[in-house]
Structures are given as C-alpha cells and as structure tokens.
C-alpha cells in the first residue's frame, strides 16, 4: 500500500513529469518561467489547485457520472468544476489570507483552464486510482510541475546572459532548451519501478 503510494508519487514527479514527458501545461511552462520567484509562485499555485481539483472530481466521477453512465460528459463537467473551484479558492484566499492571495493572485486565474490540471484529474480516472492514490498522484504531478518550472527558470536566466545567434534568439532557443530538459528527464524512465523491485 505504502509502497504503491511512493511509486505513484516518484513516478509522477520524475518519470511521467507532465510538462517534460506528457507535454501538458506548456503554456505556463514557457510563459511564466522567466524569473525564479514567479516560477515558484506559479508552481505552488498549480500544485494547490491540482490537489483540490482531484479531491472534488474523483467523487463526482464515481458517485455522479458513473452511476448515470455519463462518462462521456467527463471533460465538460471537470472543466466546469475546476473553473468554479479556482474562483472559490481565490475569493476565500482573498478573505482569509491576503498575503497568500497577493503572492498567487496573478497566477490563480491563469490556472482556471490549465490543461495540466484537467489532465491530472482525467488521468486519475483512467488509471483507476483510489481516492488516496489520486490525491498522491495530484501532489506528485504538482511537485513535478514545480520542479520543471524551477529548473527551467534557472536555464532561462543563463540563456538571457549568453550570446545567442540572431535566428535562435527568443522563443526558438527557449524551445530547444526545453527539449534538452525533456531529454534529460527521459533518463528517469524505468528507474522508479525497479527501485523497490
């Protein structure tokens, strides 16, 4: 039991990293990774939203959609629920923790329609996870996103300081750097499953 959870956590952080292996959530990955503090803020906000979204969509899938045989409405219902959740979270944060709201403020609305958040909730259902497992998986995916953001913001600050040939300046070199990072993460393939074997 415990072993399964650890495997889920590690594999969603390293092996199946949503940004670098599954290519979900590329928009904030390229958009908000220019500075370390912004990247960290976005990463933490995404992690929080993924956890809450998974906690709500799992019961909806198993207690509402499955009994009514409405699995085909999954995408629409999940998008609806996530968008409303993020709004609620924002209102509550503004009331109870203004400093946290200020820190995450700009990024929260951006996450409303982030495909990585939708991706993790749907993947939890596809993988037949229990509630606990899907929460651990959401945490892992969020941490993996945070890791990718932080690593890449470091890479980008180095890119900014280097002398890059004119045709590659800006987005092209950023995409090339992202592909290298993605290649590096491929090295984790097969490690996690075999650690506990």
């Amino acid at each position: 039991m415990f072993k399964t959870l650890i495997i889920i956590l590690l594999s969603s952080v390293l092996v199946d990293n949503y940004v670098l292996s599954r290519f979900l959530g590329i928009c904030p990955f390229l958009g908000v990774s220019k500075k370390l503090d912004q990247a960290t803020g976005m990463g933490i906000a995404v992690t929080a939203v993924m956890l809450i979204a998974s906690a709500v969509t799992w019961p909806i899938q198993y207690w509402v959609l499955n009994p009514l045989e409405m699995g085909y409405m999954q995408n629409i219902v999940f998008i609806l629920v996530i968008a409303a959740l993020v709004q609620m979270l924002e209102l509550l944060l503004k009331k109870f923790s203004p400093s946290l709201h200020k820190g995450l403020g700009v990024y929260l609305p951006l996450i409303t329609t982030n495909c990585a958040v939708l991706g993790v909730t749907i993947q939890n259902i596809i993988d037949d996870y229990t509630f606990l497992e899907s929460m651990v998986s959401a945490l892992g995916v969020g941490l993996g996103f945070l890791l990718a953001m932080v690593l890449f913001s470091g890479v980008r600050s180095r890119i900014d300081e280097s002398n890059i040939p004119a045709p590659f300046r800006g987005l092209p070199v950023t995409l090339i750097a992202a592909s290298f990072l993605s290649l590096a993460f491929m090295g984790f393939g097969g490690i996690v499953e075999n650690i506990f074997a």
């Binding site: 509402v64 409405m73 219902v77 609806l80 629920v81 409303a84 609620m88 209102l91 503004k94 109870f96």
Partner: protein
C-alpha cells in the same frame, strides 16, 4: 432521454457551483477599502506610472495601506497631494515639481553627421547602429522617440534635437525612460542652470564632435562659490541641492554648455503653442 439526463445533471452541477460561488461571494467578500476608493477618485487616472507604482489603482492601494508619501503623483501635483493628505489626515509634504530636460545642445550647426541613417525611423533603431549617425555618440539623435512617448505633446524636434516645452511637461518621466541615449533628466522646476551636454569623451574629442560639448575643463568646478559642480568622467554635473542659481558657472563656461535657464527652455522667439500647432513635424508613426 440520455440527452435530457446529461443536460439536467450538468445543469444541476453548474447550478450548485453557481449558488456556492454566490454564497461565498456574499459571505466572504472583502469590501473594497473605503479610503482606497476615495483616494483613487482624487488621482488623475492616466496610469502614467510616474509615482513608481503600476498605475493609479496600485498607488491608491499603497496609500490606503499607509507608509507611502502622498506627494508622489506627478501629474496631480500639489492639489492632489493636498487632497490625499486631507483624506489620510496627514500634512502633505510640499510637492517638488519636476520637468524633463534634454541634456544636449548638439543642434544642426554645432555638430555633424558621420553617416546617413536610413534604417528604422526611430532613435532606438538608430542607436543600435554604431551609436547613431552623429559624430557625437552621446548626443540627441533627433528622431523623436521621446516626443512619441510624451502623453502631453510637450516635446518637439528643433534643429535636429529634442526640446521640452516645460509649460506642458507633466514631469512623468516617460521620455527619460524611453530615450536610448539616456540624456533626458528630470530636474526641479526651479532649476536655474543646466549642463546642456552628455558627452563623456575627453575634451578634444568632445569638441571635435560637437562645438557645444562640455570639454571637462573644470573651470566651472573652480568658479562655483557653493561647490555645487563636479566634473565626473569629463562632464560637469550640478548638485541641485547646493546650487543657488547665481550663474557664475554659466558666465565662465568656455563652450557655453552650462546655461542659465528660465523654464520653459525653448529657444527665444519660439512660441510653444504655435510650434506644436504648425511646425510640429515629429514622425508620429505613419499617420
């Protein structure tokens, strides 16, 4: 039938979420700070950013939080500072009016061109190409980026260099930010003497490039009775906190780059209003 169920279920979920959102909004909403709203109403609302905040809203929020000076709104000047002071119940400090000043006097007759520039018609583009087409690499390029940035149409190009009509200048500092040569300074409105040069070349080189250049001879530094002038990197710099405006430096300056001024500092006989209405030929985009 299936369609109806799907319709009802999704509708019900949306309704529940909607009601939840409305309830949260109703019970946990943070009321907008009353002081902040009042302060925001006083501010001019042009979001120039001269106060150092992201816009009027941001500045109002910072003021309502406290610990911020009420006299930072430059377009609003003293009147707005007083109003905000009244709302917050503090005495507003006297407002220091600042105006933009172009530290260059390299007009057509004083300096020459080393090349003809036919690239992108703005200063930023020209500055990228070997520091611009002029013989002096520090001076005004005269392509009017500052004039285009100015929200008050206070800058015009006369004889190839930018001049500020200080009667129109809001003091927002946008021109100073956009100038690629960084030769526009924000100086106090009461300024009596200015250094109309930004060249850091050595005397002989500066003079060769422009007749009106500061040659760093240090005569002003020795003459100034109040010790307000120092020559840094071959360029005279005035400390306005010490300057009394006696003008001794302007009288002794061999190249005339130190000038006594009474703002507005347009050349004599040029009326700013006329200039903007009739001769104002700054390249305002392609219109």
């Amino acid at each position: 039938m299936d369609v109806l169920i799907a319709f009802l279920v999704v509708g019900a979920i949306a309704l529940v979420l909607g009601i939840l959102l409305a309830l949260i909004c109703h019970f946990f909403a943070t009321p907008d700070d009353a002081t902040q709203v009042k302060i925001r109403a006083c501010l001019p609302g042009i979001n120039c950013g001269a106060c150092g905040y992201k816009g009027c809203d941001d500045y109002a929020a910072a003021l309502a939080q406290g610990g911020v000076k009420p006299n930072l709104c430059i377009p609003g000047a003293q009147a707005v500072a007083d109003e905000i002071g009244a709302i917050l119940g503090v005495e507003a400090e006297p407002f220091e009016d600042k105006v933009a000043f172009v530290a260059c006097n390299g007009h057509c007759e004083a300096t020459r061109k080393k090349a003809d520039y036919e690239g992108v018609p703005n200063c930023k583009g020209a500055a990228m190409l070997y520091g611009g087409p002029g013989t002096c690499t520090y001076g005004c390029l005269g392509l009017g980026d500052c004039a285009n940035a100015c929200p008050a149409e206070a800058i015009c190009m006369i004889d190839g260099i930018a001049r500020v009509d200080t009667s129109r200048c809001l003091g927002c500092g946008l021109c100073a930010t956009i100038c690629p040569k960084k030769i526009i300074q924000m100086v106090p409105q009461e300024t009596a003497v200015v250094v109309m040069c930004s060249s850091k070349d050595k005397g002989a080189d500066a003079r060769k490039a422009c007749q009106n250049a500061c040659i760093g001879c240090k005569k002003c530094e020795k003459t100034c009775p109040h010790g307000a002038i120092t020559v840094v990197d071959n360029l005279a710099v005035i400390d306005y906190s010490k300057c009394t405006g006696c003008g001794a430096c302007a009288d002794c300056c061999p190249t005339g780059c130190l000038k006594k001024v009474v703002f507005p500092n347009l050349p004599e006989g040029v009326d700013a209003e006329d200039l903007i209405n009739t001769q104002f030929e700054v390249p305002h985009g392609e219109e």
